[in-house]
Symmetry: C2
Subunit: 307 residues, 2 copies
């Protein structure tokens, strides 16, 4: 593959930025990769593992001369970072972000972007429950979606160039209106995360069942929740605070629906439960057919071949 | 390994019974394995793939002469099956079950067991989202828990013999009081399953977000819910109907807790969210340390090595 950007600046050095660094290096997509993180410990770790070509002590230094700047900080920090780097952005540069919420980021970052700089908000639908500069790996984006929510009037050439980088890292791009993005993600990601956090919290508080038992017997379903609920607390705090409306809407629907099933259990209405559970199976089949998961039982966790 | 039972009868030929058949054969733990399923189609499939040594058209025929009988049918069907086989059980035989609820099974099965037959209720904490006679595989129980809830006065020799079989199939056994079992499982399995079913149902009903988008962008958290929600509808209907009290108790706690977090989002209380999310991370670490899951990111789903 060939060079797409001469200098890429990564602001924030967590799982996503780290994985981008690995993926861009693997295919020679960037001439130089600079990086900055607010925490000195993170910068030290990044230097130690050689995550970028150059780790800078300030965001301003990192973005100087970059033709692509990637904001990979928690959603709540995007506005401050944008204000800090704005005077140092090169004319013609592209600024993108990887935040899980789009309208709030556009509102926070947009006003700081100078004329002649392209701002193209983005969101890679990829991640693991690990975080920090050591968590990244080159294949994170492979076969995953990377949504872009460009504003009206954005230079098509700049969008195509960014899309080219994303495709070269193995992801599929799609474009979406920011508000619609935030609703889709509230359903597919934000509400499920809050629910998983809640269920793990319930288990934690339940004193009649010892912690040890909850942990020991987790394989029966709870385990999948704890993986989700182990995700980065700062990132998720910011997601909920900045996609408040859509998340609360979905949670409201969720509670209504849960009460219907709870009532069916209380009333002993087996038919209603059976019908409900049969419908949800079809969605799962759709996800496997869409290539977003494996059909291997239990995510292929269990060792040993099937007969 | 050596023979533990001369003849094992499997009543119900789904994921668990099928996996037991594979595991027992792999290590030569049973002299003969007979099987019966109520559905003719299931029996035909089981014959076609040679799941057991002999597939019988009636449960009575399958249990005749067996020294171990395994009831592997949905919890709601246990009582009828027990009534049907009771007159045909060999003196000195052991009857066990693999139901996810224990007190209700004891109440339904216990009264039918004749004097001189040992009834030892059990529950393997193992499974996948697949079901039916083709779903089983020999390694399903490896490193998993298999809980036994023997009643007071049960012959210790019979319990030890059954524990020996379970250990030889690769599982770890533990003993528990039936009511406590049902509460622990309500937390670690039953409530999480109902919640996953509910969230998948919400996504299904949401008309503003097309099904296609929900499925396409599922990798962002929702996917794990759909795996859980793809589990066998009959089995789960029966679990909820027969562990009603404990499940409703846990769901009540869950809703209270969810409302607290929802309120924190509405009020913009970032500190409360952050503290909550930080606590749940510790539980996840405990599960990995207990050996009940992998530390590989995203369950090791993502192809490619980490750096």
């Amino acid at each position: 593959m060939s060079l797409i950007y001469n200098r890429v600046a990564l602001i924030g050095l967590g799982l996503i930025a780290g994985s981008m660094a690995h993926a861009m290096r693997e295919s020679g997509l960037a001439g130089e990769i600079t990086g900055h993180a607010r925490s000195e410990a993170t910068r030290d770790t990044a230097r130690e593992i050689g995550l970028c070509d150059r780790i800078c002590d300030s965001a301003a230094e990192a973005v100087a001369g970059a033709d692509l700047v990637v904001l990979a900080v928690p959603v709540g920090a995007m506005g401050d970072v944008a204000a800090e780097i704005a005077p140092h952005l090169a004319p013609g540069a592209t600024v993108t972000d990887v935040g899980s919420v789009k309208q709030a980021v556009i509102d926070a970052v947009g006003p700081h972007i100078p004329d002649g700089v392209h701002f193209i908000p983005g969101h890679p639908l990829a991640g693991t429950e690990h975080s920090g500069p050591r968590a990244g790996f080159a294949s994170l984006f492979r076969n995953r979606w990377w949504l872009l929510t460009p504003l009206p009037g954005t230079d098509p050439g700049a969008v195509d160039r960014l899309s080219g980088l994303i495709a070269a890292m193995g992801a599929k791009t799609d474009r979406m209106e920011p508000g619609h993005h935030d609703l889709v993600l509230a359903v597919t990601s934000h509400a499920p995360h809050l629910i998983a956090y809640t269920m793990v919290g319930v288990a934690d508080h339940l004193r009649r069942v010892t912690d040890e038992e909850v942990i020991q017997y987790s394989a029966a379903g709870f385990r999948d929740f704890t993986r989700i609920a182990a995700s980065d607390p700062t990132m998720w705090r910011d997601v909920f605070l900045h996609n408040k409306e859509a998340t609360l809407d979905i949670l409201g629907r969720f509670t209504e629906e849960l009460f219907v099933l709870q009532r069916a259990i209380r009333m002993g209405d087996g038919e209603q439960l059976f019908d409900y559970f049969s419908r949800t199976r079809a969605i799962r089949r759709g996800i496997i057919e869409a290539g977003q998961d494996t059909d291997a039982p239990d995510f292929g966790r269990t060792p040993g071949a099937r007969p």
